[in-house]
């Protein structure tokens, strides 16, 4: 089943259905009106035709009536002898070709005695006029043609009848009564009759031809068929007998109207049951009815042809309309279909798909252009997203690189240096997300000297990490036996300060510990002051004047300080990540808190480093560490007992 799923199908269905409906309506109205017009015209021409025929029949019948009435009046005017009567009758027949025969039948009582009858009859027999006495052949006073006008007291046409006697033709008789006296004395004297042959009438009516097979017929006062193209029906059938046989009340009603002398136009089914229209009109003098039959098929043939032609044209037009609609709908929906396909392709990530051209100035074109703009915007958006993502990845990658550099330059804690009994050392670092630039180092310059370094490079990220690597390398390269910390830092400073366009610098604490004597020679180049923890005493700042950071200016003359560590004394080195850690209120961890916190520690160097870092981290809990937190703790144990 073809369901109207596509726009094209729906458009065609609606358009064609509506047009077909309107067309059918118009066609129906035109057909109906055409039929009505044709019917009206047919009725009009039928009326004219019938009137003309009626006049012709009336003319003949009128002449006969006039002659017969004249005869009757003559007989009333006075005594007329037998011979004179016969001459009158003969002359009437002779001079009126329509009259077949004429008789004067006298009232029996009128002639003087009972049973006295007299009825001379003159009639045509071949070319001659013959006569006979009706009273000799029949009991005429009992016949209808005598009885009915006598009782009615006026002229009366008989029902047509077939003359079985001399003429053997269809006949009808006009009977006119004549009287004697006047007023009270008026007495019926007899009936004058004139017979007319109806073969001329048959011919007249038969001559009426309507369309191809239309015809006319004549009905008597009683509805009997007088003339009909089918001769077998003549006198044998009445309109009522046919209505009876068909059980057709409408036809019976039609018959009643006819014999009442009405005229009109009505549907009619012929004896052969052909659907027709019937026009009927009375012939007043006889009370007969002339009926003209129009077969419907012929009456409406032109209308039918017209309707068929228009219908054919309409169907052709509808097909054309459907075709054009289909074309338009396709042209409308094709870009939509292409857009749908393009959308599907784009949803799969194929942005290079070809979009339907948006040249059309209609809504589809607008949609197409909007879609194209959207695709371009989407593509641009995605490109930007990719760029942003890759930029973010690059930054994260750089941070990772910086972190890797930082981690790779720190000395590995495990295994520690070749185990030395003279000291214990531990260091730890918690790195900030952005590399903060902290680093530490410790190495033996010779068998008796340990170099301790903690530093913080200005800046963050990859530049800081690289600068850190350079500084560490320079420090290690310059830490030669016999050099003081001040000499080492002076040389490193000269190296860095030269060509230092970025003004990078580093804070460094560098100390050289004599593992035998416990003497520590150190220089603090702008770094946080270390904490000295004499065994059994409160922590204190390592004494020493702050000096300029390394790298800021060339040719700085650093100076060294020195102290002597006793067995069990500790030195804690750290970076500003410790003292500048902030809590949620923005308060710095600070140097006083540092001194307090390290005063309570008394475990291994490893434990105490971890404890300090934990203390700082819990102080700064809930904040993002802004800088690296680095702690190094060294304990002097002194040379072993030898």
């Amino acid at each position: 089943m073809l369901l109207a799923k596509t726009i094209a199908a729906r458009l065609i269905l609606v358009t064609v259905l509506c047009t077909a409906l309107v067309f059918a309506l118009v066609l129906g109205v035109v057909d109906y009106r055409s039929q009505a017009i044709v019917e009206a015209e047919a009725a009009q021409s039928a009326r004219h035709l019938a009137q003309a025929s009626v006049y012709r029949v009336e003319a003949v019948l009128g002449a006969v009536t006039k002659t017969t009435e004249g005869l009757a009046r003559t007989l009333e005017s006075g005594e007329i002898g037998d011979q004179e009567l016969r001459t009158l009758l003969r002359r009437s027949v002779e001079s009126n070709p329509e009259i077949f025969g004429a008789a004067a039948a006298f009232e029996p009582a009128e002639l003087g005695g009972p049973e006295r009858r007299y009825a001379p009859y003159y009639f045509r027999s071949g070319d001659k006029i013959s006569s006979m006495q009706l009273d000799e052949t029949e009991n005429y006073p009992l016949h209808d043609w005598y009885q009915i006008p006598r009782e009615l007291g006026r002229a009366q046409w008989s029902e047509p009848y077939y003359d079985e006697g001399g003429s053997k033709t269809l006949m009808a008789s006009l009977s006119v009564p004549f009287y004697s006296g006047s007023g009270e004395q008026r007495r019926i004297r007899g009936i004058v009759t004139a017979d007319i042959a109806l073969d001329w009438l048959t011919k007249t009516v038969d001559a009426i031809k309507v369309l191809d097979t239309g015809y006319a017929f004549l009905l008597s006062r009683n509805g009997t068929v007088i003339t009909h193209p089918d001769a077998a029906r003549m006198l044998n059938e009445t309109i009522f007998s046919v209505a009876e046989a068909r059980d057709d009340p409408a036809m019976r009603e039609l018959g009643r109207r006819m014999i009442r002398g009405e005229s009109g136009f009505a549907p009619y089914l012929t004896f052969k049951e052909v659907k027709s229209r019937l026009y009927y009109a009375p012939i007043p003098s006889t009370g007969w009815t002339l009926a003209i039959v129009f077969p419907e098929a012929e009456l409406f043939a032109d209308v039918r042809t017209l309707t068929l032609t228009v219908t054919a044209m309409g169907i052709a037009g509808l097909l054309l309309l459907a075709g054009i609609t289909l074309r338009i709908a396709r042209s409308l929906t094709r870009p939509l279909g292409e857009l749908a396909a393009a959308t599907a392709a784009i949803s799969e990530g194929r942005f290079d798909v070809r979009l339907p051209s948006g040249n059309a100035q209609d809504e589809v074109g607008a949609l197409s252009r909007a879609f194209r703009a959207m695709t371009i915007a989407l593509r641009e958006h995605i490109r930007r997203l990719v760029e942003t993502t890759s930029a973010k990845e690059r930054i994260e990658g750089e941070l990772r690189v910086a972190h890797d550099i930082q981690m790779s330059i720190l000395p590995k804690m495990l295994p520690l240096l070749p185990q030395r009994a003279e000291f214990d050392l531990h260091a730890a670092m918690v790195t900030a997300k952005e590399v903060g630039g902290d680093f530490y180092d410790f190495f033996e310059i010779d068998d008796n000297h340990l170099c301790l370094v903690i530093a913080d490079v200005a800046g963050k990220g990859v530049p800081a990490a690289l600068f850190m690597a350079v500084t560490k390398t320079l420090l290690k390269a310059n830490a030669k036996a016999g050099r003081s910390a001040a000499e080492i830092l002076g040389k490193v400073n000269d190296e860095i300060a030269r060509d230092n366009e970025q003004s990078m610098f580093v804070t460094v604490f560098c100390g050289i510990l004599n593992l035998k004597s416990g003497e520590l020679v150190y220089t603090n180049a702008g770094h946080n002051p270390p904490v000295l923890m004499r065994r059994g005493a409160a922590p204190e700042w390592l004494p020493g004047k702050p000096q300029l950071v390394v790298g800021a200016m060339p040719a700085i003359g650093y100076c060294s300080s020195s102290i002597v560590l006793e067995r069990g004394d500790r030195l804690m080195l750290y970076t500003d990540g410790v003292t500048e850690a902030v809590d949620l209120d923005g308060t710095f961890y600070g140097e006083q808190r540092l001194l307090q916190d390290v005063a309570h520690t008394s475990g291994s160097v490893r434990d105490d480093v971890a404890a300090l870092i934990t203390a700082v981290e819990s102080f700064a809990a809930g904040t993002e560490p802004a800088d690296d937190i680095t702690v190094m703790l060294v304990e002097f144990r002194g040379p072993g007992l030898e």
């Binding site: 952005e434 630039g437 913080d456 490079v457 200005a458 800046g459 963050k460 970025q502 003004s503 990078m504 610098f505 804070t507 180049a525 702008g526 770094h527 946080n528 002051p529 702050p546 000096q547 300029l548 950071v549 800021a552 200016m553 500003d576 500048e580 802004a626 800088d627």
Partner: protein
């Protein structure tokens, strides 16, 4: 951080308020470079409203002072107190920067 300028007898007084750290160091550097480009090489930087300075801040401080000096100018610092002073002293920058108690004192020394 907030930076404001005023001119005092041919010397640009740059008042820096707030924190000078890794986040704001670039702003300071840009500002000082712009001043240098305008030929304003004689500056007094007023740190009396500065609450914090980090090593990154020190770096741009140093870089700007060096550039000014290379251009034949001079930068002096005034109102350096508290935290900021502690950091500058700890890192030894007080030995290479000209520090004054007040802007007027700095202007007077120009």
């Amino acid at each position: 951080m907030n930076i404001q300028f005023r001119d005092s007898a041919g010397v640009t007084v740059v008042a820096v308020a707030g924190k000078l750290d890794a986040l704001t160091a670039a702003d300071y550097e840009t500002t000082m470079k712009a001043l240098l480009a305008d030929g304003k090489t004689r500056c007094v930087v007023d740190f009396s409203e500065l609450t914090y300075i980090s090593s990154a801040g020190l770096r741009v401080l140093l870089a700007a002072a060096k550039s000014t000096k290379a251009a034949g100018g001079e930068t002096r610092f005034a109102g350096v107190t508290g935290n900021v002073l502690a950091v500058i002293e700890m890192t030894g920058f007080n030995s290479i920067l000209s520090l004054h108690d007040s802007v007027d004192a700095a202007l007077g020394a120009m």
